[in-house]
Each structure stands twice: as structure tokens, then as C-alpha cells.
Symmetry: C2
Subunit: 333 residues, 2 copies
């Protein structure tokens, strides 16, 4: 019989369909390999084509003065960086002007690279850029929430193949994040009597060991007990912190290391699947620092959302989280 | 500048990206038309192949004693109809046995039909079957929540082309539904001082007129003010009721009529796109009958979920809801 597991962090029930569970190998979709060149003349993100993007907001350069990581405003943003917040309330028609920040983090000058294959030192640079932009975005008083994410591959929603991530600052606090923060506050005060839910949950995963993929001084990578899909991975910082922007240098190294390791396991074990990753973080303001705990979530694109998921918010995971974890742990990289 | 609109029913913010808004016509994906026969020997849902499904749980027959609508248990359910609810709580590992009900509603004997093209009388039969199964599911004390949905087309998650819908009874109350119910209760008591949020919201949409697609004695079809995607349609009953199972015969006729009309507009105007629809309803128990209001939501598959949506729960709608409504209203059917 299948198991319906509660994800205590997201508040969602997940159906672990053990009876129709697939073997990890069944999720590998062999994609047509195509030759991709290291430089594409029309790509706005390739080195040499810097005039095809707006001026950079942040850059990290090598000793030869060539850029290694570049941040630029997204030319096709749904938000406008200029303008004032105007709030309109007319009965049930409530809206706010679409003022917001949206930048692209170009992860490497090489068009045909992929994040998993970058050296750890380059992934560190990407994380330094994330931190810089997140803190800069939160300095803009019009921004209520900042999200960092990466879409890898067409089915994960990207149209540009040059490796890049995105950061968006929204003028509203998302309802989904508000619900999770509310749950975290209730758990802090009324369930755990002054302990962070995320910290306690992480300790439980560490004690269980069975779903852990990797661990170092600062981070743990694991498939959560109630993973919403096969190979859904969370990377939690061991030190409690609500804001990714507070990450210190040694932690950046630790995160680069474990992120590279996890992405390589996914890349090698599942033959470079499309995926999304997301850094969930609150602001650096500190008011909510006791309750929330930032983390990075990786969701390989091996699932489809249909009527059941739309209507309930529940997911059906056809892989045992313990099996997904074992598979990724045993990948030879 | 784009607008960030609040959906007061779902609690989600939606970015209406007016600057990169597309024309309604841009969402039409011309699909390769293929010849589909009216009968397929291997299809478990075709008339004559009744032995390929488990015994039927409900059936509606014509005067010739041939079935017109048939309900059968889903052979590939993630839930088991047999067994007891067993609750297990070990620290943060909480689960419940995957006991639940899952049936398929076979909408027509004809393999190559599509719901939009069925006569209204046949859509009435489908709705009668929905009502019967929803009430039957809620009689099973192991069932906490029931969801009715339809996946039309491969990208909407269906693998069988014979027209069918599904109904699932879960042993847990979904977190997403709990959040909406909580919001509805707060609105009832503390915002609207004893009025249903959904009733008030519907009146506002009716007053505005601009997003209405169709209306009859019992129902209104409209694109909500904060539609999460292009051509996202809600069909609300005018009479307050939390449970779809309470629908009376004259309302079934009204719903069949407006559902057929709306699906035909989508079918004709957007060239038979893939879509999901969902009936959101609470139980017939009545405890929550004052706050909640059942409705039917149609979501054509013209959007992709990527990192931004996963990480915030917010959607970016590249069509103005007012434009989507005008387009559907003006389709010649």
C-alpha cells in the first residue's frame, strides 16, 4: 500500500506511491545529444557580446581582466525597475504596480558549459554573485521578497542554453512564502517551544542517515522524507539563518562544494535531466530570523502537473525518497 | 508597467505582464490532427470492452440498455480502496496509510469524441455521475477530501485518449485546501462580518461584467480578475453552497449548459488545446457550509511552471484577463 507522508516544512501531504514505484533508472530520459559550440555570435551571454545586454550590475573578473561571472538586468522582465509602488484597492480588485528587480546571473563565459561541470571555484563565484545581488535587491525599499532560481533545460522553462540563473525582487510577499513563514512561527512558539522547525527537522534527517546524499562542515544534502517528486533534493545550512545573504566565505565554499557534488550526481546518474533549483530565503532585516531557515531546493523535471495536483496541491511521488537518495549516493562521480 | 493582482479567493498574487502581453491568438498551438477511430479494440473505456475494467460502481443507460456513462475503479490508482487508516508519527516522519478511493468516469462510449462536442444531455449525465460518486465517496469514513478533475490531452497529464474524468477520495485534507478554507473563515467572520467571500466576489465580477464569458439562471462563467494564466476560467454557482454534492437537477442542467458553452469556446477559439478542469468542493457534512463555495476551474495548458513559480507560488500571466474574456466571449460557436 502507498504511504501519504506529511512534509512538515511545506505543510503539504505527498503520496508516496510505493506500489507503482519505479526504479530510479526508469526516470532517465535519454536526450538527443547535440553539438553545442563554446561561443555563439548571437548569444547575449557569451564573452565578446557584452553589448547585447544592458550594463552589468556586478562582475567578477579573472587576473587577465576578463569577466568570469556577470550580472545584468533581464531585458524581458515581467517587472519594471523604474517607477513607484502604487497600491489600488477597489473592492475585490486589488493590485499594485509591477515594480520590481530582475537580473540574470551569467554563470560562465562558455556557452556550452553546464553548471554541474564547472569547477568548484567557479560555482563559488556564482554564489558570491547571488549574495551580492540578494543584499543589493533588499536595499531597494520597493522590494518585499527576493527569489533566486535556475531553470535548466527547455522543459524546466528556459529558452537560452547559455548557463545562467535568475534573481527576482517582487513588490509583494508571496502567499506561499507567507503560509510557510506562518507555519514556522507557530511551530517555533507552540510546537517546539522556542526551537526552529527547520533545525530540528534537519537533525532528524541527519540521525536517520538513510536519505542523506552528502554532508560537509556547513551543509547537508538530502532527499526529504516527504519529497514531492523523484530526486527532489534539499541542501540545508547547518547553522541557523533565515537569510542567504548572511552566508560567510567559508560557508560559500562549503555550499559550492556540496552543490557541485549534488548536481554532478544528478547529471551523471540521470543523464543530464532538465531541472529547476531555487534558493528560499527571507530578507536580511532579521525580524523573522528566529523562525525561518534558508535552503536550496533542486527539483529535477521528471514529473507532470495535472488535475489532481492543481486541485489539491498534493503531489504523487512514484519513487521512494529512500531509494532516490540511495541511487544518488551511489552514483560514481 | 505590469500589474501585480491579488486573487482574493486563492490568496495568491499574480503578475499580469501587460507589457509583454500576447494577443489571444498567439496562444493557439496548431496541433497535428490525427484520425482517431470511434472504437479501439484495446481501449478499456470503449463500449464492448467492459471486461477490461473492474466492475462498474455506477452506470447510466439509454433506452436500448446500452451504457452512456460508466464509473469504474481506477486500476492504476496511487490509493488502495481496501485497508485501514493507520497513522504513524515518529518525530518528523509522519504518515498515514495510502487508503483512498479513485474512480474513472467514462464520459461517452465513443473513443474519438471530446467533451466540448458532446450534447448537453450527455454532459448532464456526466455531472449526475460526478454527484453520485462524490456523495458515495464521502460516505466512506476513511475519506477526508474528494476532488473531481479532468486531464485533457497529453501535456495536461492524460495517457488515455478516450474521454474520461477522475474522482479521488484522499485519507488526508490537502494543505492547499486547508489554507483556502482558513482564509474563507477569516474573511467570513473578520472581513465581511458574516458574508461568504465567494458570494461577494462573484457579485463584484457580475457588476464589472468585463470578465464574464457566460451566465444563466444558476451559473456564471468568467475569467477571474487575477487569473493565474491565459484563459483561466471559473464557473461559480450563484446559489451559495460549499458542496457540489448538493447540486439539484435544475442546477445540473444549468451547469451542463454553461460548461458545454465554455468548453466549446475554448475548443473552437484556441483549436482544442490541452486543459485541466477541477471541481473544488468540500464535503456534504455541512460544518463548513457557511464559509466555502464550490466551483469549477478550467486551466488551459498554455503555461509552463519554472523556478519562479515553484519558489514563490506566484504566476506570471502574459494575457490580460479582460482580453482573454473578450476573446472567449466573441468566439463564434
Amino acid at each position: 500500500m502507498s504511504e501519504v507522508r506529511l512534509n512538515v516544512i511545506t505543510g503539504d501531504w505527498v503520496v508516496i506511491a510505493t506500489e507503482r514505484a519505479k526504479r530510479p533508472e526508469d526516470f532517465i530520459h535519454i536526450k538527443q545529444k547535440k553539438e553545442v559550440p563554446a561561443y555563439v555570435a548571437t548569444c547575449p551571454f557569451c564573452r565578446g557580446n557584452e553589448d547585447k545586454t544592458p550594463p552589468e550590475t556586478f562582475v567578477l573578473k579573472g587576473p587577465d581582466d576578463n569577466w568570469l561571472v556577470r550580472c545584468v538586468p533581464n531585458k524581458f522582465s515581467a517587472f519594471s525597475p523604474d517607477g513607484e509602488i502604487v497600491k489600488t484597492k477597489a473592492n475585490f480588485k486589488q493590485h499594485i504596480t509591477g515594480v520590481g528587480l530582475h537580473e540574470v546571473i551569467i554563470e560562465t563565459p562558455e556557452h556550452n558549459m553546464t553548471t554541474a561541470l564547472l569547477p568548484v571555484s567557479q560555482i563559488e563565484r556564482i554564489l558570491v554573485a547571488y549574495k551580492n545581488r540578494l543584499l543589493a535587491f533588499y536595499k531597494d525599499t520597493r522590494v518585499e521578497h527576493v527569489i533566486i532560481f535556475k531553470n535548466h533545460g527547455e522543459s524546466a522553462g528556459t529558452s537560452l542554453e547559455h548557463p545562467h540563473s535568475q534573481i527576482v525582487g517582487t513588490p509583494v510577499f508571496p502567499g506561499q512564502v507567507m503560509n510557510r513563514l506562518g507555519d514556522a512561527i507557530k511551530n517555533y512558539y507552540y510546537v517546539n517551544f522556542g526551537d526552529c522547525l527547520y533545525c530540528l527537522y534537519l537533525k532528524d534527517e541527519q540521525k536517520d542517515k538513510i536519505r542523506i546524499i552528502g554532508e560537509n562542515d556547513s551543509f547537508v544534502a538530502f532527499v526529504p522524507y516527504a519529497a514531492l517528486s523523484p530526486f527532489h533534493v534539499w541542501i540545508f545550512p547547518k547553522k541557523h539563518n533565515a537569510c542567504f545573504g548572511h552566508i560567510i566565505d567559508s560557508e560559500i565554499s562549503g555550499l559550492a562544494d556540496i552543490l557541485k557534488d549534488t548536481l554532478m550526481r544528478i547529471y551523471t546518474g540521470l543523464d543530464n535531466p532538465d531541472f529547476n533549483y531555487v534558493i528560499r530565503s527571507l530578507s536580511s532585516a532579521g525580524a523573522d530570523s528566529k523562525f525561518f531557515h534558508w535552503y536550496l531546493a533542486i527539483i529535477p523535471k521528471v514529473i507532470q502537473i495535472a488535475g489532481f495536483e492543481l486541485g489539491t496541491g498534493m503531489f504523487i511521488n512514484t519513487a521512494m525518497p529512500e531509494e532516490s537518495a540511495r541511487f544518488l549516493r551511489e552514483v560514481k562521480i
